[in-house]
């Protein structure tokens, strides 16, 4: 009996000691190191590890310090990490966050605002593609995000099918795209692949078409979702399936990767929203050697030229920004690290290993000689930032929700203007209430 008690006591003691040890500081030991949080690359996991190792070695040669990598698997993981770090004031020194998440990160005020000195430390603002800086902060004086990599959106089309249909060049306006898609739809062949059930794709279409028509959806602190431009965007987007019938009816169940897979089977003219990361999937399908990227149309639906107040948004500004945590005790080291991975050699290295496009202007320039990439690099230069507001997450959620709730109507083959207007009113209410709370 006694021995059992002793055992229980020692094990509790051991547990307590272990817990105390785990809770201990993160900067024990003599050598310096920084913690970096990046997204786990599920498409190229081994290549990513090789890249991490190579960068860590370069950093050690340059500064003598180590890089400790942490990865997150989903946006949810990332947010939890940011929350706990922000609340506790300790955690990664450098974060890589998605462009559209940067406004939310900015609103937590937990990251270093970049002054002249910090920009100098990372090698100067001039070294980046100007458009890549579009979502670094609310204005030039209050930037927190340093552009790291780009993933601009483009269309991909089947060269053989377009040729067979007598189309000599891909569409540059949305109306032209619809018309070409109609021409391409025959028998079991469809003009267009669209991922209606994706959690993120729908709002990108709606925002792009509206911005081209002169409505960026968020205007200061006002949401402009109940607007003819937005209505027209939804009508066009739904119309492809419901009335034009140029999309496979099964597309109401597709996510982006399913739409790519459908296109890769070789019986679809266009896939309307993808990025250079799809290259591997495309080359694995029946379309190998028969596909090309093209810029997304930049003339709003219902028009033959862009109105004066419309913007030439070929893609949302997409990719990752680097943020340095305000609580970091290794800020200088963190900025040295940021400089290393945004300089030309490292930027070309990450493109070669992982297919992520450089934000570094010189590196981007050297990629333009590759004909396959020319379009993608151009899309990056013509990318336009989504509104910089802490409420943006709610706005894009409301825009997507309008599509999610419309899918049953869409599948029945008709969606009335009144139904669309009802959904827009709901989205407007949610978006406006989020903007009203913005501080």
């Amino acid at each position: 009996m006694r021995s059992r008690k002793t055992l229980a006591f020692t094990s509790i003691l051991g547990l307590t000691l272990a817990m105390a040890a785990c809770g201990g500081g993160d900067d024990s030991g003599g050598s310096k190191s920084i913690n970096v949080l990046i997204a786990a690359n599920t498409q190229y996991p081994q290549e990513q590890q090789a890249w991490q190792k190579s960068i860590a070695e370069q950093f050690r040669t340059q500064t003598g310090a180590d890089v400790k990598w942490e990865t997150f698997a989903s946006a949810n993981d990332e947010l939890t990490k940011i929350q706990t770090s922000v609340v506790s004031g300790s955690g990664p020194d450098v974060y890589a966050v998605g462009t559209t998440f940067t406004p939310t990160a900015y609103s937590t005020k937990a990251f270093v605002t970049l002054g002249d000195e910090q920009w100098k430390q990372v090698g100067g603002k001039e070294k980046f593609i100007p458009s890549a800086l579009g979502i670094s902060g609310p204005d030039a004086q209050n930037q927190i995000g340093i552009p790291w990599v780009g993933r601009p959106f483009v269309m991909v089309y089947n060269t053989e099918l377009l040729k067979a249909a007598g189309i000599d060049k891909p569409a540059t306006t949305w109306d032209e795209l619809t018309a070409q898609a109609k021409k391409l739809t025959t028998g079991d062949q469809h003009g267009l692949a669209v991922a209606y059930k994706d959690n993120f794709d729908p709002w990108k279409f709606i925002w792009g078409m509206s911005a081209q028509a002169g409505n960026p959806i968020v205007d200061g602190r006002t949401a402009r979702i109940q607007d003819p431009a937005v209505q027209k965007a939804y009508q066009t987007y739904f119309g492809w399936l419901a009335t034009d019938k140029v999309v496979d009816p099964a597309a109401v169940g597709w996510t982006n990767s399913q739409a790519i897979a459908a296109f890769a089977e070789g019986k679809t003219g266009y896939m309307a929203l993808t990025s250079a990361l799809a290259t591997k999937a495309l080359d694995a399908g029946a379309v190998k050697g028969k596909w090309q990227f093209a810029l997304l149309p930049t003339v709003p639906p219902g028009a033959t030229s862009r109105p004066a107040n419309g913007v030439e948004a070929a893609s949302i500004l997409s990719g990752d920004n680097l943020l340095v945590a305000d609580y970091s005790r290794n800020k200088d080291l963190a900025f040295q690290f940021v400089k290393l991975i945004t300089d030309e050699p490292a930027q070309l290295e990450i493109y070669q290993q992982l297919g992520q496009l450089p934000s570094n202007a010189a590196a981007a320039q050297s990629l333009q000689s590759d004909p396959k990439l020319k379009v993608v690099v151009e899309a990056q230069q013509k990318s336009v930032a989504t509104p910089f507001s802490g409420a943006w997450a709610d706005v894009q959620l409301a825009l997507t929700n309008a599509v999610v709730q419309s899918i049953p109507d869409l599948s029945k083959g008709s969606i009335s203007t009144a139904t669309i207007d009802g959904r827009l009113a709901d989205a407007q209410k949610k978006a406006q209430s989020a903007l009203d709370r913005a501080k």
Partner: protein, 288 residues
């Protein structure tokens, strides 16, 4: 009666305070402050807004979500009970291959929820195998009103082995003498089943119902992977609503209020259920 050494409960009590009561209290407090991405960094100083989050949560679809969650959970439980008990009875007596059948029955329960949801998601596509079997090409399972039934269907498929396991455990505890006695009395299989065997199952199965219903209500992975976020209104179950509110809208105060409201709303019938079925298995055993 001798003084019992109640102090021995102290470590367990301390752990309960640390693991259950403290977080619960914290959730209660967060539900009264305006905690979002703007105030997160100085969360201790986040403005106190009293019941503001509660009134907002009632106006933002929470009751609809609770209704969906509870009805979905109860229907799933009701459907799994007969399946689970029948499966337990089938594997009660020894026969060739029984071990294999028992193992096969556990497959849905052993598979991670994520895998189950991914597989069903593929099968329930508009041009998927389910529609092919039914000859209902293009009908929607993952959006619109039918998504509710799709959720229940998949939940039943994944969760019935839990009832099966509990029922099987209870069957094993039926004394051998009872079987002999009913054989001596000349009871045929049906009276034996309904009057002798099933009463033994009452306690464990009622307990299993409770646990299963709570598991259904708390299941987040299944609807999330099946339908994605934002979810269609028909399957916007409570965990999905709380998830979207905290992790997409970043309204931590509001989502805490939602969690507290749902806790209260679910705790009331739960309490009534516990009182009604008196799950004191030992007491029952003593009486027998």
């Amino acid at each position: 009666m001798r003084q019992r050494p109640l102090w021995l409960l102290a470590p367990g009590g301390a752990l309960m305070i640390l693991v259950i009561l403290l977080p619960l209290g914290l959730a209660g407090w967060i539900s009264t402050i305006d905690l979002d991405q703007y105030t997160l960094r100085r969360w201790v100083q986040a403005p106190f807004i009293g019941l503001g989050n509660y009134t907002e949560s009632l106006g933002s679809g929470l009751l609809h979500s609770i209704w969906i969650s509870v009805s979905f959970a109860v229907l799933s439980t009701l459907a799994t009970i007969p399946i689970g008990i029948a499966a337990a009875l089938v594997t009660q007596n020894a026969y060739r291959g029984r071990a294999l059948v028992r193992a096969v029955f556990l497959i849905p329960y052993v598979l991670p929820s994520f895998v189950v949801a991914t597989v069903w998601r593929t099968m329930l596509q508009p041009d998927g195998v389910v529609n092919n079997w039914l000859g209902a090409d293009g009908s929607l399972w993952l959006s619109g009103p039918r998504s509710y039934w799709a959720l229940i269907l998949v939940e039943i498929w994944a969760a019935w082995p839990f009832i099966y396991l509990m029922a099987l455990a209870a069957l094993q505890s039926v004394d051998h003498e009872v079987h002999e006695a009913s054989a001596v009395d000349g009871a045929t299989w049906w009276p034996k089943l309904t009057r002798v065997v099933l009463p033994y199952l009452r306690g464990p199965v009622l307990l299993a119902c409770l646990l299963a219903t709570l598991n259904h209500i708390n299941n987040f992975t299944l609807p999330f992977v099946l339908f994605g976020a934002p979810a269609p209104d028909d399957v916007n179950v409570m965990p999905m609503l709380v998830y979207v509110t905290s992790f997409q809208s970043l309204r931590f105060g509001l989502s805490a209020a939602m969690a507290v409201v749902s806790l209260i709303i679910i705790a009331i019938p739960l309490f009534a259920y516990l009182r009604a079925v008196r799950l004191d298995v030992h007491e029952e055993g003593g009486r027998r």
